[in-house]
Assembly symmetry: C2
Homo-oligomer: 317 residues x 2
């Protein structure tokens, strides 16, 4: 099957990763159309030996595509995706615009591939942190039945795209204006526990995504989740310290066996992945698995995933 | 009262901080003797307008002191402190050598000042991470009765002294040898979830200190604690994401009131401290206090403290 793919937000960090993944995975593409904002109009991008011109987005151009991937912002997604329904095109959206929409399935192929069958022209891609956490928790949930989890994140600057990477670089040469604009504070040699906006209950939008999206993807309406999401001066790959509580008694050896035999997981027995080790890898790295000494039937672990790879890989699949 | 103080490990990062705190707090010192390893023998350090010569440590020189502070390593502490008992001198030890020793009280003046009365010539200073976590938890424990807590740390490189800071600087100029030696991996743009050695149950020595020391200081033998301690490319001040579980129902407003009225705490309502904001401050910064959505009767918070200041301040007091 050779398909027509369009990518909206092609000159951003996810767009670049997406294009290199299409090449790497040798996905047969009849036509690849690249769209971005006006300022990138006319820019050339290389794909499979050809040079493709980036175009300014116009709705009419989307009609000829089989799969438009939206990776720009919520506004563009909301405006354009109505077109998908009208023309019976399946839009894949990487923004948060449709994530909790009843008709938009939320798909992590390794966890809930069946959900894709119910789509009504929109498939929402979960938040990158949720994907990484659930890739680690789902195999254990299948055996021990997850009742809740808490997670503290150590998130990379690339989560916000090239501007985050540029901000960290500018900080190194002691020009803090960009990182203050992008992150609200200097990011170099700092930890900023605010990703998104704070809601009335004190949780940030990033933290609420972790709870709401996990319940939807795992179809566990009573799952108890809490998280603290912090940004660190790390270029790529998010790390997470997770405590997962199960309904069945947890056996550490069996849990290690489950994780180490999963082909989407790089398991580190008595060791740990780091963001540098896991950068640009498709698998989620898990290490330091141990019985939790605070909660009963709970496991503590250290999980690292390249959020750009993970998000895009899933869409591409 | 004018006292004779000796500092063993005077040219290290804690030694320097100690000396500047003695000056800042105008503590009346009759005599200050500074000791370090052979390589610093003869070095001059300024204190209250005088120049003090750093000497090589010899046990006989310790006999004339009122309070020798040991801030070098466990071996030196173990070798020298027997002298304290023989000469009825009260030694204050910052290493882990005596922390869990029955006869060595573990003192955080704001929490258990009474413990000092039972000393038998050794007072152990708790680990810096434990001090920061308990400064935040103790006021809430007094009202709501703590039953356990979990913590994920974001620790600074200065925890290992000047070599940690130098390692981070060397990483910036792309010479990774020192950070690989000091931390086992490049620290720049990384997160390393290993501080100390791993024990049989998978916890690191830093993580076990958090559990064991908290139980001893709070006199709560049944306190359930788990932690994941990670090192980040941050110069000074440790950050912590903490979930604390209480026996009494938690009221968020009352908890905020308790923290904001504590003179040892900088409380950030609907905001947060960062390691950059809290560096070189005596108070522990607490923010993002909210009801935990994973556990009942639990609070989630973000805590930041300058571990060099905290550790030394407590000793000095």
């Amino acid at each position: 099957m050779s398909i027509k793919i369009g990518f909206i937000g092609a000159t951003g960090i996810v767009g670049s990763e997406f294009i290199s993944l299409l090449e790497e995975r040798k996905i047969s593409v009849a036509d690849l159309c690249l769209f971005a904002s006006e300022k990138s109009d006319g820019r050339k991008i290389h794909f499979n030996g050809k040079s493709i011109t980036v175009e300014k987005l116009e709705k009419s151009k989307l009609k000829n595509l089989d799969y438009p991937f939206f990776c720009y912002n919520e506004e563009i997604s909301k405006e354009s995706i109505s077109m998908g329904a009208e023309n019976n095109i399946c839009c894949i959206d990487n923004s948060a615009a449709f994530r909790l929409h009843r008709d938009a399935p939320f798909v992590i192929p390794e966890i809930n591939p069946h959900a894709i069958e119910n789509h009504r022209n929109i498939i929402a891609n979960p938040n990158c942190s949720t994907i990484i956490a659930l890739m680690a928790l789902f195999p254990l949930h299948q055996r021990f039945e997850l009742s809740g989890f808490c997670v503290s994140t150590y998130q990379a600057v690339s989560r916000v795209g090239y501007s985050g990477i540029e901000a960290l670089k500018q900080d190194i040469v002691r020009n803090f204006a960009l990182s203050q604009e992008v992150f609200g504070e200097q990011i170099l040699q700092n930890a900023i526990p605010k990703i998104g906006q704070f809601s009335f209950n004190g949780y940030s939008s990033e933290e609420l995504k972790m709870s709401n999206e996990s319940r939807k993807i795992l179809s566990l309406q009573k799952l108890k989740v809490s998280s603290t999401c912090a940004r660190l001066p790390i270029l790529r790959a998010h790390s997470m310290s997770i405590i997962a509580k199960f309904r069945s008694p947890l056996d550490r050896g069996e849990a290690e066996q489950i994780l180490s035999s999963n082909k989407h997981i790089d398991y580190f027995p008595n060791a740990f992945p780091t963001p540098l080790k896991q950068a640009c890898k498709n698998n989620v790295g898990i290490g330091r698995l141990r019985k939790d000494t605070f909660l009963k039937n709970a496991a503590t672990m250290w999980v690292v995933g390249d959020q750009i790879r993970q998000g895009v890989t899933l869409n591409a699949i």
